[in-house]
Amino acid sequence: MPTELLDPKLLDRLRGLPLVARRVVEGALHGLHRSPHQGLSVEFVQHRAYTPGDDPKHLDWKALARNDRYVIKQYEQETNLRAFLLLDSSRSMAWAGPQTAQVPNDKEAGGESLSPRNLTRGFDSDAASPSQRPLPAPGIDGERGRNSKYHYASVLAAALAHLLITQGDSAGLFLAADRIVRQLPPRATPSQILSICRALESAAPAGGTALPAVINTLAAAIKRKSLVIVLSDLFDDPEATLGALGRLTHTGHDVVVFQVLDRREVTFDLGLAGRGITILRDMETNAEFEAEPALVGQLVRQEVRRFLTRLDEGCRRQNVHLVRTMTDVPPETVLTRYLSWRTR
């Protein structure tokens, strides 16, 4: 399979590890997963009282003979899984570590210094034209692209799609930034794997982040109970994000979130000791923050810690699996550990 996202070693490690839905899901085909529909199957579930209109062929005649009561035999229907892979393709996912930029004139760059006002606006704005310029696609931009969060999330998405499709489930892909930029409907055909990989490879991180809106859109679009896998750095408003995830779970979807982070985002160790004042430019909003990382590092780390803790608590409350991983952790390690834990 001509794709760089699927590493044979990774696939080999994942072999034998099924991705089983934790909740009942609805599918058109027979599969590994429980279906809300009782039908023709071998797995007996329960008896229920006969009501007029029921098909008499479902009567349990033996029970009638023993108890003189009319009961209907119900069987659990095993169905296939529809999984939606929602990959955050905002520009922040392209970050692969500290990288300096030319110091453009503020007017030329159209940037603006970070202020309390535009700090907030920067995340809400969707008209920041510089942020719309796509970055080179991972895998094409050399080693830096390979180390980006987007590339890491793409590898995870491809592996998950391969896993789902090979076990007979259908998988679809949604690439979203501040909106859904590309979608592949769920299919269970082997060619879907290639389609997903090509879609991931051809896409490039661009635009701002509007993950809650995208999730809400997705929740409204998915009619059947499905598995929704979100791969993002979740650098958005945590309350809105948790609210959108909660809507998914409330509608019966099984939601798994892979939060992909770069370790330096957590430690704020940008390797700038002794370099004095540094202007940190937001990749999505181009808002600038003039700081000496060595001085504000502790405060930033505390803020990141608070953010992550809020996500942990929210996901736990929403019954959402939050899998946080760093880009320096091998993807197979993350997947094998999670799938093993999930199958228990």
């Binding site: 922040s92 996912m93 970050w95 500290p98 990288q99 300096t100 930029a101 030319q102 110091v103 453009p104 970070l114 309390p116 700090l119 920067g122 995340f123 969060k149 750095d233 650098f235 770069d262 370790r263 985002e265 957590v266 430690t267 940008l270 700038l272 000791a273 370099r275 004095g276 004042i277 540094t278 202007i279 940190l280 430019r281 937001d282 990749m283 999505e284 909003t285 808002a287 600038e288 923050f289 003039e290 700081a291 000496e292 060595a294 001085l295 504000v296 590092g297 502790q298 405060l299 930033v300 780390r301 803020e303 990141v304 810690r305 953010f307 992550l308 946080r324 760093m326 952790v329």
Partner: protein
């Protein structure tokens, strides 16, 4: 604002270094793409602002520290002292040091090369004084007082006052010349303080222009003026150079007798840190009689003895001087002693009067007793004394210089003592009280008295009459005889006593120091009296020689202008082997001449000091002429004090070192320099004036030590710039007192800035040290 060392302001550019670094960092700031800025919250922004403020404070502190240090080093001065304020109501007294040390090379001769080439310290100080006077304006009053007591200003000479005639004062200051005398700054300061009146409207200041030579200030404590006066001490020129100087010159014997060997003792002092070997040259009447190297250790004195024999009677001029020396350090630079001002005591003068013979009176207690028994007479002490005196006076073909007249004690009343210089009592039993009184008057006027004991001596007479403290001037006897018997018999010869200690500093015994000391050590004393020196005033009674167990043998006592010597044993072989030894003759000769010198002490005359010449032969009706060393002639005044005529020579007349001749009008000066008073007239006096010893002392007095004595006086030390062009002294004095405070304040500010900078920097650095808990959390998060 004026800077004394403006070049140090260049260090202020260092203050720009932190600023440049700061701007450089801001200009070369790194722009870095970051995934999100959402974590840079308001609190972080506020913290960042605080950090920026701290960094700005840090920058300012660093710049301030650099600026403060640079400013302090540049020595800014402000106009706070008041000299530049209240023009027209200022009273300024300038104290100008015109002592000999000020004739040394000024700053122009120093390393800076500033000022006039070759100018002396006095010239520099005089220029400063002129600058001050020119700076004063109408309404100001001023006066100038020199260290030697000259006052220039207003008022009468007896009652000087401040003058408003500044132009006249300036002309007087410009014509000032230095002296070779010693300065007396304390008297000058006291005089200056008296010039100020009590007007509260006026600003008073005393400006001291001096090289601040240490010795000048320690002659007497500072007097306390009525008004608090600010005294600004301006050190001029370089301090006096430490050198090897001649400290004193004296003849070994008090009286120089023609033909008698004499010892000239030369005292030298090395104030320098290195051993020096100057060549000591001694001239007698212009003829070199000795030239020998003298080793003087560092910071130590040294003594040289030069034998001198006067061939002719009369006044003789002795000049001792250093002709050069080399540094004793290996590889040290050879340097000649600087003549004149550099080492003002490298030449020292001494006027000595030699007499043709020395009349002695030997009062022999055994002279009239048993004269027929010649054998017995040859055992008497008087016999040995007379023989020794005659032997020591026989100097070849010359006449007998020591002329002893031997009289019995009974004939003493018929002897005119004034014709003798020395009286020797030998084995005299006792004397009538009238004779004792005559002896007392004789010694008090300068005669010498030697007492040799013997078998006949009545100890009670010596203790109670001659040595009675109730006598005038405390009695003649330098010691008392103790013990009921009066003397103790020591024992056989094998248990004889010996002379163990000799006062080698005593002029008469200096000759017996060193190798000749053994000649005294071989003397055995079989019998002697146990004598106890009298407990009189310190310096009044000396033990010149002592024996075993510290028993005094020879004791000296000053009585009036004369001296008394007491020998504890008798010069007879029954008592001691001294008369049988060769050393007895020179010892007795030197003791005798020493006693004879009591009436004619060398008159110590110092340059700049007034001289009183008491002389019995002055004819007060005639003027007294004084010939200075340079040939100039002065006129001395003569006044009558009591029964004597006193010739008074004012201090300003004694202005140069050398020999002064004092003569009556009509006397001739012979070609050999001696005075010829003509038949029947006494020749004039020969005086040797030397540079005051204090002018040869190196070292600068410290203002802190002076302030302890100054009381209400406010002493300020003015630091002149060491390098660069000399600013106007007026501008310096206008603010020197406050300038020191400014410098100190700037230094303290710099120190405070550095300390606060350290605190702020530590606060900033502490923010970078919160990594441990973060690492732990990172691990958990991963």
């Amino acid at each position: 604002m004026l800077f004394l060392s403006p070049l140090f302001l260049l260090f202020g550019l260092a203050a720009g270094v932190p600023l440049v670094l700061h701007l450089y960092q801001r200009r070369n700031r790194t722009v870095m793409l970051y995934s999100t800025n959402r974590f840079f919250t308001q609190s972080i922004l506020r913290s960042q602002r605080r950090l920026r403020l701290r960094r700005l404070i840090l920058l300012l502190l660093r710049m301030a520290a650099c600026l403060c240090i640079a400013l302090a080093a540049a020595q800014p001065i402000l106009d706070l002292f008041g000299l530049a304020r209240r023009a027209g109501s200022r009273d300024v007294v300038i104290l100008l040091d015109d002592s000999l040390s000020m004739s040394g090379p000024g700053a122009a001769g120093g390393p800076t090369g500033r000022g006039h080439a070759g100018a002396s310290k006095f010239v520099e100080a005089r220029d400063m004084a002129l600058d001050l006077v020119h700076h004063l304006v109408s309404g100001d009053r001023a006066a100038l007082i020199t260290y030697t007591g000259r006052v220039y200003g207003g008022g009468r000479p007896s009652q000087p006052a401040l003058s408003k005639d500044l132009a006249g004062l300036a002309s007087e200051v410009a014509s000032l010349t230095p002296t070779q005398a010693a300065g007396d700054p304390t008297s000058a300061l006291a005089l200056a303080a008296r010039l100020f009146d009590n007007s509260p409207q006026r600003t008073r200041a005393v400006i001291v222009l001096s090289d601040m030579q240490d010795s000048d200030w320690r002659k007497q404590p500072l007097v306390q003026p009525d008004l608090p006066v600010d005294v600004l001490c301006v050190p001029v020129g370089t301090p006096p150079t430490a050198a090897c100087v001649l400290d004193d010159l004296e003849l070994g014997q008090g009286s120089a007798v023609v033909g008698q060997p004499n010892v000239l003792t030369v005292h030298a002092v090395n104030y320098g840190p290195a051993l020096v070997r100057p060549r000591l040259t001694v001239q007698l009447d212009g003829k070199e009689i000795s030239s020998q190297p003298l080793t003087v250790p560092a910071f130590s004195p040294a003594v040289a003895h030069v034998p001198v024999i006067f061939a002719t009677p009369g006044d003789h001029r002795i000049v001792a001087g250093f002709t050069g020396h080399k540094a004793a350090r290996p590889g040290g630079d050879s340097s000649s002693l600087r003549s004149g001002i550099g080492s003002p005591r490298s030449e020292i003068f001494l006027a000595a009067r030699a007499i043709a013979d020395l009349p002695l009176l030997l009062v022999d207690g055994q002279a009239d007793a048993d004269t027929a028994n010649a054998t017995l007479r040859r055992q008497a002490p008087g016999f040995f004394l007379r023989a020794a005196l005659l032997a020591s006076g026989a100097t070849g073909e010359q006449a007998q210089s020591l002329r002893p007249d031997v009289v019995p004690a009974s004939d003493l009343a018929r002897t005119q003592l004034s014709t003798y210089r020395v009286v020797i009592l030998c084995n005299v039993r006792d004397l009538p009280a009238s004779q004792v009184e005559r002896l007392e008057n004789f010694v008090a006027r300068g005669g010498g008295l030697a007492i040799f004991m013997g078998d006949q001596a009545d100890l009670d007479f010596y203790n109670r009459l001659i040595g009675s403290a109730a006598r005038p001037l405390g009695g003649l006897m330098p010691a008392t005889f103790s013990g009921p018997v009066g003397f103790e018999q020591v024992g056989p010869a094998d248990q004889a006593l010996h002379i163990l200690t000799v006062d080698e500093h005593q002029p008469a015994l200096q000759r017996f120091a060193g190798a000749l000391r053994s000649s005294l050590a071989t003397i055995s004393i079989y019998r002697c009296y146990k004598i106890t020196p009298r407990a009189t005033a310190p310096g009044d009674c000396w033990v010149l020689a002592a024996m075993d167990r510290g028993l005094p043998l020879l004791v000296e006592h000053a009585y009036g202008k004369g001296r008394v010597l007491l020998m504890g044993t008798a010069p007879t072989p029954a008592w001691t082997n001294l008369p049988l030894r060769r050393v007895f003759i020179p010892l007795l000769s030197r003791l005798t001449m020493y006693l004879a010198g009591g009436g004619t002490p060398n008159l110590p005359v110092e340059v700049g000091q007034p001289v009183d010449l008491v002389h019995g032969g002055w004819d007060t009706s005639k003027p007294l002429w004084v010939t200075a060393p340079d040939g100039g002639r002065l006129t001395a005044s003569i006044r009558i004090e009591g029964a004597a005529a006193v010739a008074y020579l004012p201090g300003r007349a004694v202005a140069q070192p050398g020999f002064y001749t004092v003569q009556l009008k009509g006397m001739n000066v012979r070609s050999d320099g001696r005075l010829d008073g003509g038949p029947g007239r006494r020749p004039g006096e020969l005086l040797a004036a030397n540079v005051p010893p204090s002018e040869a002392l190196p070292g600068v007095v410290k203002l802190s030590s002076l302030q302890a004595l100054a009381g209400r006086w406010r002493l300020h030390e003015v630091d002149l710039p060491r390098r660069g062009p000399m600013p106007s002294l007026t501008s310096i004095l206008a603010a020197q007192t406050s300038g020191r405070g400014i410098w100190d304040t700037l230094l303290w500010l710099a120190l405070a800035a550095v300390l606060i900078e350290t605190l702020v920097a530590n606060q900033i650095r502490s923010l970078r040290r919160h990594r441990e808990d973060d690492r732990q959390w990172e691990t958990q998060a991963a």
